[in-house]
């Protein structure tokens, strides 16, 4: 009985010992991976930061205007208020008015 208990204790103890060392090694490997990933994240964050700065500078109104002047032939003028429609319905209404006016003009021309 005593030997049985002793055997079981030793087996259980060995299993725990082996298991602990396996877990410990796995944990150490995981920590190394986490460290590596963190280094990658830090360098990516740095790259993102620099890219963001470049983006904000290159999309600033001054730089965009310079590029448009250098690369494009068209001259851009401010949009007239009459060209801004606050809803699709108001655009359609105006177009309908143009169409009706055109039809009336055509009828007048035909009568003549």
């Amino acid at each position: 009985m005593y030997k049985f208990k002793l055997c079981i204790s030793i087996i259980f103890f060995s299993l725990l010992l082996v298991g602990t060392s396996i877990i410990k090694n796995e944990t150490r490997d995981l920590e190394k991976k986490i460290d590596n990933l963190n280094e990658h994240i830090v360098s990516k964050e740095k790259d993102l930061n620099e890219t963001q700065l470049d983006f904000f500078y290159l999309t600033s109104p001054y730089v965009l205007e310079q590029r448009i002047q250098n690369l494009d032939i068209n001259i851009y003028i401010p949009m007239k208020h009459s060209n801004i429609f606050l809803s699709f319905l108001s655009f359609v209404e105006l177009q309908n008015k143009f169409v009706i006016q055109e039809i009336q003009n055509e009828k007048k021309i035909q009568k003549r």
Binding site: T27, V42, E45, Y57, P61, Y62, K80, I84, F85, L86
Partner: protein
């Protein structure tokens, strides 16, 4: 059954007694069992100890695995670039300022093996370096700075030299992505990360708050509007040969400032010590007599107190009035009988003076107190001017009524115009978004505000109005011009135009100010359908013109971005 013990007839002398033999036997057994128990106990104790250690270890592993990653990230904190200051962004999230990692280049002379070779290499790559100065410093043998705040190119050049003696000291530098655009508002920081002017100084603690380092500080300015207004004002400086200019665009309901420009400005990335007065923030720090702008206040007060109505005719307006030593007159000849709204439309000094006399000094003083015209305004910048105080002498009411003898900052003047036109609610100008900006105080009633809006619109549309050049189609601009002279030097003048649009239900107030403008001889105006050249140096021919150009450019942006137009289609008409 008891054993029968027979007496031994021939006792063996060597034989031990039965009792002692038994004792030894049992004693041995007892000892053996005791030993066995001790052994067992030791085994169990060891087992227990190891089990406890393993249990502690396992619990620790579980604890680490369940905890947040920050626990494991702490070891990498030395490599990570941690911000010391928050970003500043505009109302649309566009970056205005940010801390970046920068370097100082230093030299440790003790690590230089061949000094001559080192100096030659430095000179080859940096021809502008003062060779003798560096040679002396190397001879001293002490650690010194070759150059502070080096840029990326310089760093790469020095790095490529491959000398151990060149050391790069990291530090955090503040950069401003828009250079000159926000120079008067954002301000600067010193090398130790302390704000020394502008928003950087006012919000220094909030910007360094460690709990909020990842959240940018959002201000109400708009980069695009700021750029457009800045560009138009710069054009105006050359067109009208002005010494300075300023503009302010404000939301009349909330007091949020969408744009604040003061010219000339400077590049805040250069970290120059700016002392010249011409670089003063004219909108917040400049204190001026704004002139005829004040006539709107007089008329509003008269309407509010129901002394007059917009159509009330003021009869027998004299050409000039003498008050103490002052001889007050108008620049132009006006009809003798004018309605109240005509007095404002034509900008008659005498007419306004007569209205002010009907109001009385007491009510006028109260209005000025309610509007905080003579107090230093509360604003999120330290560079704020204080109006000059004065005594209410014999003719003070008369002169103050049309804007002479009273000074204020353009910021305060615009805020009061916003309060007059938004239904009469007093607003406080702000650079930071607030949920509610209504102070629950009223300057005038809603009906008076509506009347004022109508009159201001007529200043722009009426043939006798002084601001026709700001009548931009679709924006229903209303406003008031102001032309004032410097008493010490009559050649110096300040031309101002405060506009509100759309005048039926104002959303924005725009102030445009030109310092010492001249007549633009080459400029051809499109004045009420005809092409003419200006001959007078008045606000109606310069500040109003510039304001019109600004509204033309910023109008579509404001129309599209306004909350009323969200979730609706905006369609461009194509021909």
């Amino acid at each position: 059954m008891r054993k029968k013990y027979k007496k031994d007839k021939n006792p063996n002398k060597n034989q031990t007694s039965f009792y002692f033999e038994d004792y030894l036997e049992t004693n041995k057994k007892i000892r053996f069992s005791r030993k066995k128990n001790f052994l067992q106990d030791r085994v169990y104790l060891l087992f227990f100890l190891f089990f406890t250690l393993i249990l502690i270890f396992s619990l620790r592993i579980v604890h680490i695995s369940l905890n947040k990653l920050e626990v494991s990230n702490q070891s990498n904190s030395s490599k990570k670039f941690t911000l010391l200051r928050r970003d500043i962004v505009d109302r649309n999230g566009e970056l205005i300022s940010r801390n970046i990692q920068s370097f100082h280049a230093a030299i440790n002379p003790k690590l230089i093996k061949n000094k001559e070779n080192f100096l030659i290499n430095l000179r080859l790559n940096f021809p502008n370096i003062q060779k003798e100065k560096i040679e002396n410093q190397i001879k001293k043998g002490k650690y010194f700075y070759l150059k502070k705040r080096i840029n990326q190119q310089e760093k790469e050049k020095l790095w490529n030299l491959g000398h151990k003696a060149i050391i790069f000291e990291p530090f955090q530098s503040r950069i401003y992505t828009h250079a000159n655009l926000f120079s008067h508002i954002i301000g600067q920081v010193d090398f130790d990360n302390y704000g020394i002017s502008g928003i950087e100084k006012y919000f220094d603690k909030e910007l360094k708050n460690r709990d909020l380092l990842s959240e940018p500080l959002e201000i109400t300015l708009d980069v695009n509007l700021q750029y457009l207004i800045n560009k138009e004002l710069n054009k105006a400086l050359t067109t009208f040969n002005s010494t300075g200019a300023g503009a302010l665009l404000m939301d009349v309901k909330t007091g949020e400032i969408l744009s604040l420009v003061s010219l000339p400005n400077f590049d805040i990335n250069k970290r120059a010590n700016v002392k010249d007065k011409k670089y003063l923030n004219k909108i917040t720090k400049g204190v001026y007599e704004l002139g005829s702008i004040f006539k709107t206040f007089t008329v509003a007060l008269a309407l509010e107190n129901k002394i007059v109505s917009p159509k009330t005719i003021i009869h027998d307006i004299p050409r000039s009035i003498k008050c103490s030593k002052h001889n007050i007159s108008d620049i132009k000849e006006f009809p003798r009988n004018l309605s109240v709204e005509d007095i404002l439309i034509r900008s008659s000094n005498i007419g306004t003076l007569l209205i002010a006399r009907k109001i009385g000094e007491k009510k006028f003083k109260k209005f000025i107190e309610d509007a905080n015209l003579l107090e230093t305004p509360e604003f999120q910048l330290e560079e704020v001017g204080s109006p000059i105080s004065f005594n209410w002498n014999k003719c003070k009411l008369e002169t103050v009524s049309f804007g002479h003898g009273i000074t204020t900052t353009p910021l305060q003047a615009t805020s009061i115009y916003a309060s007059l036109t938004n239904g009469g609610n007093i607003i406080q100008p702000t650079l930071i978004k607030r949920k509610f900006n209504k102070t629950n105080k009223k300057l005038i009633s809603k009906s008076t505000s509506e009347n004022i809006n109508k009159i201001l619109r007529k200043v722009v549309t009426d043939k006798n109005g002084t601001a026709s050049l700001a009548n931009i189609d679709g924006y229903y601009v209303g406003g008031k011009t102001g032309t004032s002279q410097n008493y010490q030097n009559k050649k110096d003048n300040l031309n101002t135009f405060i506009s509100i649009f759309p005048s039926q239900k104002p959303k924005y107030a725009l102030l445009v100010m030109l310092e010492n403008p001249k007549v633009a001889k080459d400029l051809v105006y499109n004045y009420r359908g005809s092409k003419i050249k200006a001959s007078r140096n008045e606000a109606g021919w310069n500040s109003v013109y510039v304001a019109g150009k600004i509204i033309e450019k910023i109008g579509p942006i404001l129309a599209i971005k306004s909350e009323d137009f969200n979730y609706q289609y905006v369609v461009e008409k194509t021909n």
